[in-house]
Amino acid sequence: MRKIYTYTLIILSLITLWSTKLMAQYDLGFYSMRAVPQTNLLNPAFIPDYKFHFGAPTISSTYTGFGTSGPKYDEILMITPGDSLGLNTNGILNNLESNNNVINRNTNQWLYGGMKWNDFYFSASASDITDVNVLYSDKIIQLALKGNSQFIGETIDLDPLDIKALHYREYALGVAWDVNEKLNIGIKTKALFGKSAIYTENVDLELSTSEKYYNLGIKSNFVINTSLPDFMGDSAINWVEYMQSDANFGLGFDIGATYKLNRLWNLSASILDIGYINYDRYLKTYTSNTEFTYKGIDATQFIGLDDEQIEDKMTEITDSLINLFDITESSEVFRVPLTAKIYLGVDYQFSDKETLGVLFRFEVFKNTVQPSFTASYYRDLGDNFKVSASYTIINHNYLNFGLGIIANFNPLQVYIATDNIIGVISPHTVNYGNIRFGINFIFQKDYKKLPMIEL
């Protein structure tokens, strides 16, 4: 049996090491900080060891994270001799992979609470989430920064070029069941209300530049869906209306399970954010499906024209060039799938206060799986403090040392966690960085027996 676990771990590790170099949104070390109720967000089968709890309104859990598999901040920008900041085109170009992504996720939990009832644990939360995923090829950046002459005689595929940028409100209700001494299962259902979105579908762009003639062959096939409220125009809405909007309804759910193999070993697994949001308000859809070769301007059409006629002809030609792209604007309802995540964890509790954990995480975006591996160490330093240290391998990046701190002052709990402490201290030097911070009010099972804090 142990060999099976070992082999499984090795295979998952190899997948992580050899995976495509794309950055995933991650929240990895926090997975092991079970004393924080919000770990239930990562696996709905996790049951906090409290009778009930609730988060400090608006600050129960605030998360921000960024990442890029391409150039980092200090590779994109550089200090100029005048001590100002300038664009570093060479830095950008030298640090591009064939496929790159940029991610940013911000979660602000307005309300959060949970309670245990017999073998069940119920939780509820209301959060605002912004989730940005941009997938781009090195070719499109090379083209933008250095022009097309480097591709003369070639046909370059500008794919991938995918954008998923969402802002939505999430109302979640979760239930976890302590089935028996070994097994917990949990599910969380989410009602989602999209606030705004930019979402690309079927982006297929090709550019060819012929030898000598430099004829430009352009193939353009894309659908760009947007739901962007108007804050400026005649039908503008204000921020209050925006935040209170109940349009763009969606559904999602998380499922999870934990299994206690024996006194020392625990297994856990969860799948998060399975669902979608239907955007049906503030819609604009830009569609293009065209293929043409631009050979320049037909000079013969100017023969015999006077200056005024030439000017009119140039205007006509400019319009026709724009029309070549055949971009149509419409209002189409569109559905955006959530970015699904899979967590697979193994914990080894080698003492009452110490746990070693291994976590594999997979994120699915645009049919691309983005894996990561985390090893964590969790230590209970007493009633008031617990710490977690983690090491993560993600996207062939091996220098991700994380840290988490939990301070409990019954009933107040303050926690902070990051997967890359260097990213917190020096975000411009890393590809990835994140931080989660929050304040909860926790009430132990035997809360009534605990002394009150003397204020």
């Binding site: 250095k146 097309n148 000598k212 023969i303 008031n384 002052f409």
Partner: protein, 541 residues
């Protein structure tokens, strides 16, 4: 210290550490990221783009050219320069003079004719029609003209005259005119009558009789009044035909001469003063005479020559100086007959004349009617004319070398572009040439004193190469010639544009193999051209 107090201290300490940490991080981020100090950057792309393209085919040249073109059944093109001259029309050439007929008749009243009774008298007159010397008018269909009759008599009774001319008919009806001669109590009695002869056929010589006589019948009726009989009486008739124009005139009009005024044709294809070495293999001068006079005519050219820059060269031919042209016969009145006289390399020196590269062609002369003097039936209609259509046809068949053509344009580009931002430009000139001739070009930039400060190429370079013509006699090109030439311009040379005041475009061209081979230009020949550019650009933003 109680556990609760310890908790509170740890709590406050934790929050304090958190706030300090976040504040420190925030200030550190601002300083380290320096996002507030973002000042832009440098953008240095190299773009390769097509600028413009086109296809010039001979059909387009033919359509847009002010010259005339002719395409033979094989598609070989010729440039044709044309002119047309028309001689005076019929009525202005053959004139009908006014005619005058005077005659007097006498008569006696029957003796004892009672008052109130009448007496009728019949007379026949032969009026003589007098054409110009050596001419004869047989019949005339009159367009306009007047017949004026003045009758004067000493008859002292009421009377009248009926004038009948059977040879004057309108729509088949002979001319008949009754003229009353009322007695007013005194003599003589004079009456004048004017008759329009419009649309009358006047037949003078008919049925083989050539006497220029017109028969007239005059009936005179006298009604006896109370006056005395003063017989014998006389009646004088004065008849005049005047201001005659005609639709048709038949007869014989003798010999007469009409001048053909000096006519000029511009030959624009040789107007360029470039040094020109060419040899045209064929040429043709075609004179198309259209004659609607029913008269034999000879044409005589006094002058037939070309001119170039003041110098002249005569066209010589065994057809010159005089030749006869056709005329319509009596069955084709109102129609014309044509005669085409062609001067080609077999009967003239026209090829030599064209290789003189003339800019103008001149001719003048005269036409002579009835040149042999034989009296044969002639006719003329009011629209009769002789038109001379002249065509100088030059097939595009030969070889040439244009050593240099230049065109100068004033430019001022100092403020047009930000030249400092362009590192270099490579311009490709791409051609696919179906024509069996090449073209070379150079562009010079000069200052205000026309001193060259730079040029597009290091030397005059080919823009396109000549396609290889096939074997004779068609010399047809079957495979086009692909050619690309690149002009590379550095930033330093671009700076010269700022100081350029004039742009001189200089071009050369020659037929295949440096102008040594004969070619033909067909209507389906074309040249595809395309200009593309690679520009290395550098800008700060």
């Amino acid at each position: 210290m109680s556990k609760s107090n310890m908790d509170i201290k740890y709590l406050l300490l934790s929050i304090l550490i958190g706030i300090i940490t976040l504040s420190t991080l925030d200030s550190c981020y601002k300083e380290r990221l320096k996002i507030h100090k973002f000042s832009g950057g440098s953008w240095n792309p190299e773009m390769a783009v097509p600028l413009f393209f086109g296809k010039l085919d001979m059909q387009m040249v033919v359509d847009k050219s002010e010259d005339y073109w002719y395409e033979d059944p094989n598609g070989l093109l010729s440039i044709v320069y044309r002119s047309e001259q028309i001689t005076q029309v019929g009525n202005n050439v053959i004139d009908i003079p006014n005619q005058q007929f005077d005659s007097t008749v006498s008569l006696l009243l029957p003796i004892g004719l009672p008052t109130g009774d009448s007496a009728l008298y019949l007379f026949q007159l032969n009026a003589e029609f007098a054409p110009p010397t050596n001419e004869r008018f047989d019949s005339i269909l009159i367009k306009e003209g007047d017949f004026i009759i003045e009758i004067s008599t000493n008859i002292n009774h009421d009377s009248y005259v009926d004038l009948i001319i059977p040879d004057f008919t309108r729509y088949g009806v002979p001319l008949k005119q009754k003229i009353d001669l009322p007695y007013s109590g005194s003599s003589p009695t004079t009456v004048t009558k004017t008759i329009s002869l419009a649309d009358y056929w006047v037949k003078i010589n008919t049925n083989g009789d050539i006497d220029n006589k017109i028969s007239e019948f005059i009936n005179v009726l006298i009604k006896k009044g109370n006056q005395a009989d003063n017989s014998p009486y006389s009646i004088s008739l004065s008849q005049e035909i005047k201001n005659i124009t005609y639709y048709q005139l038949f007869g014989y009009f003798d010999q007469y001469t009409v001048d053909i005024d000096l006519q000029k044709i511009d030959i624009s294809m040789f107007n360029h003063s470039a040094i020109f070495d060419a040899s045209l293999e064929e040429a043709m001068l075609k004179l198309n005479f259209s004659n609607s006079f029913g008269i034999p005519v000879d044409i005589t050219f006094d002058s037939l020559y070309v001119e170039k820059d003041g110098g002249t060269k005569d066209i010589t031919s065994n057809l010159l100086p005089t030749f006869s042209i056709n005329y319509p016969d009596i069955n084709n009145v109102g129609y014309s007959d044509s005669t085409i006289i062609i001067f080609n390399q077999d009967n003239s020196n026209i090829v030599d004349v064209i290789n003189f590269f003339p800019q103008k062609f001149f001719y003048s002369g005269s036409s002579t009617a009835n040149p042999l003097g034989d009296v044969i039936p002639n006719f003329v209609v009011d629209t009769s004319k002789i038109s001379i259509q002249t065509e100088v046809e030059i097939p595009l068949y030969g070889r040439y070398i244009v050593y240099e053509l230049t065109d100068t344009t004033s430019i001022n580009l100092e403020n047009e572009y930000n030249w400092e931002e362009i590192n270099s430009i490579d311009v490709n000139f791409n051609t696919v040439n179906h024509f069996p001739f090449d073209a070379s070009m150079q562009i010079y930039l000069t200052d205000t004193n026309y001193i060259v400060i730079d040029s597009l190429f290091s030397d005059i370079v080919p823009l396109t190469e000549a396609a290889i013509p096939g074997p004779p006699p068609e010399y047809r090109v079957s495979i086009p010639e692909y050619y690309t030439v690149t002009a590379s311009i550095t930033n330093q040379r671009l700076q010269n544009l700022k100081y350029a005041a004039h742009m001189i475009v200089s071009g050369k061209s020659s037929t295949y193999d440096s102008g040594t081979k004969v070619v033909k230009i067909y209507s389906d020949y074309s040249i595809d051209f395309q200009v593309s550019m690679k520009v290395n650009y550098n800008t700060d933003f």
